[in-house]
Each structure stands twice: as C-alpha cells, then as structure tokens.
C-alpha cells in the first residue's frame, strides 16, 4: 500500500498539498510516483506563471509515458523546485520531500481530500 501521510491534503488526481508560510506546496503522491515508474523528466512552469485549479501545470515523463500534473488551486507560481530539472528521480525516491511548485495568492482550490478519503481513491484505482 502506498504511503499517505496523515498531515497532508490530496487531490483525486494524485497531487499532495500542504500550507506553508502562506503558500500552497504541491507535489506528486507516492501512489502516483509508483504508478508512473521511473521518472526521467519533469517540465515545470516558471515562477510568476498563473495556474488554474484543475488544470495541468506540469508534465511528468517516465520511461513509459507522459502524464499531466494538475493544479489544486488557482493562483500564481511563487517558487519552482529547480533541483528536479537535474534530478527528476527525486520524486520516486522521496515523493513528499520533492515538491514541484509553491503557489501564492490562492483564490479557489479544487476539492481537497484528507488522507483517509485519498486512501479510498487509491484503493478504488488499484481494484479497477
């Protein structure tokens, strides 16, 4: 079973979210990283770009396939984890440490799940 920390919030599309110093920190869950397999490239937005709740803000490529990453909130990209440009595999190794972006000025957020609700989403997908 995938690691789902209790102190984070989640989206149905497998992003994790936490609030830190007034910013929303966004990453990919362990479940998503495991499903994608070995991640070899991440296309990130630039600081200052607008993101919209429920819309793609990044692409994650594994050796097998490319997947979109969806923004949990509408706002502006305050910070980008540039270290992922050279070491995208960090998302596989430490999905809850390797954040992708931090969002500022959050207006609307997508529906966020707590850990137990997200665990149910993962379980349903595993059975599918």
């Amino acid at each position: 079973m995938a690691n789902i920390p209790a102190d984070l919030k989640y989206t149905k599309s497998h992003e994790w979210v936490k609030e830190e110093d007034g910013l929303l920190v966004v990453g990919l869950t362990d479940f998503a990283a495991t499903a994608l397999g070995d991640i070899v490239f991440i296309r990130l937005p630039e600081a200052g770009e607008e993101v919209t709740a429920g819309e793609s803000f990044a692409e994650v490529e594994s050796v097998k396939a490319v997947s979109d990453v969806f923004s949990p909130a509408t706002g502006k990209v305050a910070e980008v984890n540039e270290a992922l440009n050279d070491a995208p595999e960090a998302v596989n190794e430490d999905p809850y440490g390797a954040w992708l972006i931090k969002i500022a000025g959050t207006e609307a957020t997508d529906e966020l799940l707590d850990a137990s609700a997200y665990e149910a989403v993962c379980a349903a997908e595993e059975d599918a």
Partner: protein, 363 residues
C-alpha cells in the same frame, strides 16, 4: 479477451505489473522498475517472457522456394542451424512484418513473427504459399524466454556443455536438454546485448524460467518486462513493427536494406521496390539537445518545414539521454542536421545522429 502466456502465474508471483500487449497479458515491469531492468541487461543479465511471439513452420520440397517468394531476404545456400532476419512485403513494397527464419533441414524451416501480426501473417503466407510447402502455426504450443546480457553466456554454461550452446550470433541448436526439458537455443535477441532466445513446449515454461532464475542469481540476473524490452531495443536502434515499419513504409525506407535482396529473381513487393527507386524518406536517429522527450508520432521540422515524424522515442537509461528514431525526407537526413520536434505543441530541439545509439562493448 487477452490470452495468458504459460508464464502468467510466474509473473504474478514475481511481482510483475501486468498489461495487455498484442493480445496477451504480459508484465510491463517487475518491482525493480524499467530502469533497473534495462541496466541489468546492459551490465549483468535479464530474463524475458517472449512467449507471445508467433511461430510458423514451413516444410516440404518447395519450402525454400516459398520462403524466397514471400520474404525479401535470400535463403538460398543458407546452412542448417543458421538464423536469418527478413522482411515480408506486400505487393506495394510495404512491410507486412519482420521475421526471423531458422533452418533445420533442406525441407524444414521455422519463421518467428510478431505477436500482433501473427494472424495477418499466417493469412498472407497461406495465400501465397507454393504447392509442395506445408505451413503450420504452432505458436500456441511454443513458449519462448530470452536471457540477455553480458553474463548470459556464463549462466548458460552452468546449465549446459559447450557443444549444446550456440557460439555464433544468429545460429541455433535444436534438441538441447535443460534439466531434462527439450529446448531450442538461439543466439539472438532484441536488446543489442549478447544472449539467447530459448524455445520449448508450453508445459516446460515454468520450470525453464525457474531453472534460469536459479542459475542466474549469482550473476545478478533479474526478470525484465516489456518496458525494458522496448527501451533496450530502442537504444540499440532495432526496428519495431508498427513504429519504424508498417504496411505503408518500405524496408528500404526503414533502413532494412541489408535484409532485402533485390537481385533475387522475384519476391512479393520486389517490382514495387525497384519501381520506387532510391527511397525519398529514410530512418534516422535523433539525439535530443533541448529539454524534453520526443516520443512516437511527433512531427519533425527544420524551421517551418515539416520533414517527417518520429517513430519511437524515449529516455534511454544506459545512455542517460533522450533519443528517438524518425522517418524524414532523404534530402534532410544528413548527420548533424539540427531539427525540432513538436512535442504536444512545444518545440524540442534535436540533432540527427547515426544509428545505432548504443553498440555493445567487445567481451
């Protein structure tokens, strides 16, 4: 409805992640993941289930003549125990499939075809077979595993005496007994690495897998899935049907001229290939110089001019960089040419490079 290979239960027990492929349920990877499986084959050894491949026998007094009629390569003078690559063309010179041909005797051959094309191939063969040749699809009775990597010869040497192991690339030995199981061992593969493909009856598959796994353990052999099979063949620039070739791409465009003998008296597709003359588009290698990954079916440009499209592409684990193969206008195919691929609306820079991307080190 997908079929299971005789090794399906083994894949589940080994932790394989099962996906449908060419009508079969096969592991795309095991718990180790595509990168580790790819690296194992380059540096140690990997074991693959390739039981989905199709096998069709050609027997009878005109078997050689039939093969020379329906396939592009020339099998005249081929020695027993040899293996030869060929393309099978349609009348327009397009590729029906690419195949391996084994010679077991003057009137006895085995043709190994892609799983996805098995039924189409058999129909094409049956429609064009000459009188005096009998063809039979024995795919459902045959299991095949591939053991690939620099340690593969040492692992086989633990199980068999030297005379039972084919020493030369593209040779095969029949009637070899591994742990009492009757096998055919072929020094071939789809990884660009040293190795063997082992054919046996379906009932032996599970025991053969376990025997090879046990023998390979001390050498770092791990099971490998379809994901690594694809990245390995791509790194070695081996063509895959449906990507580098199809019914509308000729083997000459696909860079497979070495397996096309236009000097032969006749074969299906020969007239069309000769009439077409020098190919107007050719298969090239692309090394990504920008940021991103070029995959299949992405348009390739020089400035605003569309010069072709990519046929396969990924991030290659051993080379540590993104590469692709593409079919481009012959006029723009020179090594060193700077191009761009349209990757979901974004241009990714690349350079035309010689194929293959990876050549194995001398061992």
């Amino acid at each position: 409805m997908e079929l299971k290979t005789p090794l399906y239960d083994v894949h589940i027990a080994e932790g394989g992640k099962i996906v449908p492929f060419a009508g079969y349920l096969l592991p795309v990877q095991y718990k180790t993941g595509v990168v580790a499986e790819h690296m194992a084959v380059r540096e140690k050894a990997g074991l693959f289930d390739v039981s989905h491949m199709g096998e069709i026998t050609f027997t009878g007094p005109t078997a050689l003549k039939t093969l020379n009629h329906i396939l592009t390569n020339d099998f005249t003078g081929m020695k027993t125990g040899r293996v030869r690559y060929s393309v099978m063309c349609n009348e327009r010179g397009g590729c029906v499939d690419d195949v391996l041909v084994y010679k077991f005797g003057e009137e006895e051959y085995l043709v190994v075809v892609n799983a996805s094309n098995r039924h189409k191939d058999y129909a094409h063969m049956a429609a064009n077979v000459l009188e005096g040749t009998e063809i039979r699809d024995i795919s459902d009775a045959v299991a095949q595993v591939a053991i690939q990597g620099p340690a593969a010869p040492a692992i086989m040497a633990k199980l068999l005496p030297a005379e039972s192991i084919p020493q030369k690339y593209y040779t095969a030995i029949r009637e070899v007994k591994i742990d009492g199981m009757s096998c055919m061992i072929s020094r071939t593969g789809y990884t660009g690495e040293n190795g063997y493909e082992i054919y046996t009856a379906c009932g032996n598959a599970e025991n053969l897998w376990k025997t090879l796994r046990a023998a390979g353990e001390e050498y770092g052999l791990i099971p490998c899935g379809l994901g690594a099979r694809d990245t390995l063949r791509l790194e070695a620039a081996m063509p895959l049907y449906g990507h580098e070739m199809d019914e509308d791409i000729t083997p000459l465009e696909a860079g497979l001229g070495f397996g096309v003998k236009l000097g032969k008296e006749e074969f299906i597709g020969r007239d069309a290939l000769i009439a077409a003359g020098e190919p107007r588009r050719v298969r090239v290698g692309l090394a990504v110089t920008g940021r991103g990954i070029i995959r299949e079916h992405q348009d390739v440009f020089i400035g605003d001019e569309l010069i072709g499209h990519s046929t396969s592409g990924t991030h290659c684990p051993y080379l540590g960089k993104a590469v692709a193969m593409a079919l481009v206008d012959a006029a723009h195919a020179a090594t060193g040419t700077a191009v761009e691929a349209d990757v979901r609306g974004r241009r990714v820079a690349a350079e035309i490079v010689p194929l293959p991307f990876y050549v194995k080190k001398d061992q």
